[in-house]
């Protein structure tokens, strides 16, 4: 089966000579559709770099990045830009909604940039907003939305259309733990509908929503969790201790 995302021996070096910094070293990682992977690590471990390279926002110094089996290095600049718009959705820590556009216009913008008709984009946008239970706020501007609603809109924008890969960098931002949990529930639900998700976080509670947690240290993958079988009840969880 083709992975939705595959990193093969990916390294990233910033600077050169004595100021050289190895942000990533020989990273191998594949993520399947319907799988949510969390990447954890201390500051400077390379987790945000991993995400920007996976999302083709930055180039790897060496190694290969494949999205749906397509090696990003093998396609033209314009094709890569199109893949970025069509196949990959991003959720940022600070939501990054454009203040002059309504919630719906924010969600449909990547589709319209890609040449989808206004009507088609509007339909797909509302569908994504409905999945996130925020469609009734479609005509509101970002400053009229609560923090939780803004993040739902940002996630709707990331999954709108046919996107198969969802990348999120500390997606719960400054939300409190219960609202942060709500965001993770939404990301999990999106991946369960067939998208592959990668979430970078330093918070263990958020990471625990993922199917698999990958640990980075000094640019290396040092460890990962084994998928828990999952007891049926708290009692079984306590008994396994």
């Amino acid at each position: 089966m083709t992975s939705a995302l595959e990193l093969r021996q990916v390294s990233k070096v910033y600077g050169s000579g004595p100021t050289e910094v190895h942000a990533l070293r020989d990273i191998d990682l594949s993520v399947q559709r319907s799988e949510l992977v969390a990447v954890m690590g201390p500051s400077g471990s390379g987790k945000s770099t991993l995400l920007t390279i996976a999302g083709s926002l930055e180039h790897a110094t060496s190694g290969h990045v494949l999205v749906d089996g397509v090696d990003l290095a093998s396609v033209s600049h314009s094709d890569r830009a199109r893949m970025r718009r069509r196949s990959i959705g991003y959720v940022f820590q600070d939501f990054n909604l454009l203040p002059g556009l309504t919630a719906l216009e924010n969600v449909t913008m990547p589709l319209e940039l890609d040449g989808v008709s206004s009507k088609g984009a509007r339909e797909a946008g509302l569908e994504a907003m409905e999945e996130l239970d925020v469609a009734e706020r479609a005509d509101r501007y970002p400053d009229e939305l609560s923090g939780g609603e803004r993040q739902r809109v940002a996630i709707a924008r990331a999954i709108v259309g046919e996107r198969g890969l969802l990348l999120a960098d500390e997606p719960t931002g400054a939300l409190d733990s219960v609202n942060g949990e709500a965001v993770m529930r939404l990301l999990r639900a999106a991946t369960q509908r067939g998208v592959a998700g990668v979430v970078v976080t330093h918070e263990a509670q958020l990471a625990s929503w993922a199917d698999r947690v990958v640990f980075l240290r000094d640019g290396h993958v040092v460890d990962q969790t084994v998928a828990p079988a999952g007891p049926e009840s708290l009692l079984a969880a306590a008994a396994q201790r």
Partner: protein, 193 residues
């Protein structure tokens, strides 16, 4: 977990029979604490002896008795709710010992030891999160119980993260120079508790 006070809380709503108390106790604690009916009646007998509950009918079979909270019982319940819980030694203390010992053992990478524990803690958290994720949205008891365990494990992971950073900032030293007294003093603390 005080079965005694949980039963008082259930009786504070209205008078109830023993079997109903058993069912409600399990339902309201997220079904984490199974309680056999014998425990229920033993506890009710003690509550009755202490004047915190009374029964409607003195001579009937125990299953026929309906229990009612007294004003002393209600006062006892309110006091218990605001009394700080016993501070049992947290389970991660063993983890602290392991980290300190790991520092003394030649050839052991402390960061690998910390990472092994971090992975275990997060796998455990994944289990509890999975339970919470598949629970009914209305099951507040289960969410609260799962959250309590998740926050405890989260504290362990934060301690591991802080230990990692702290140890990284230390200049490397030969294992022979390390004072063994650190470990001994912690173990003494443990024993004295």
């Amino acid at each position: 977990m005080s079965v005694r006070h949980a039963l008082l809380a259930l009786l504070n709503e209205e008078p109830k029979y023993g079997l109903r108390l058993q069912n409600e106790f399990e339902a309201r604690t997220g079904e984490v604490w199974p309680l056999n009916v014998g425990q229920v009646y033993t506890t009710l007998q003690r509550l009755e002896r202490d004047g915190l509950v009374v029964t409607d009918d003195g001579e009937n079979e125990r299953s026929q008795k309906r229990y009612r909270i007294t004003s002393d019982g209600a006062r006892e319940l309110r006091n218990w709710l605001v009394t700080p819980p016993d501070l049992v030694p947290p389970p991660r203390d063993e983890l602290v010992i392991k980290a300190l010992v790991a520092l003394q053992v030649p050839g052991i990478d402390i960061h690998e030891v910390l990472q092994a524990h971090r992975r275990h803690a997060i796998e455990e958290m994944q289990r509890y999160t999975k339970i919470k994720a598949s629970a009914d949205a209305g099951d507040v008891a289960l969410a609260l119980v799962a959250d309590a365990q998740l926050f405890r494990l989260d504290a362990t992971v934060r301690w591991l993260d802080a230990a990692d950073v702290r140890l990284k900032q230390l200049p490397p030293r030969a294992p022979a120079d390390a004072p063994a007294a650190d470990v001994e003093s912690v173990q003494t603390m443990e024993v004295s508790r």
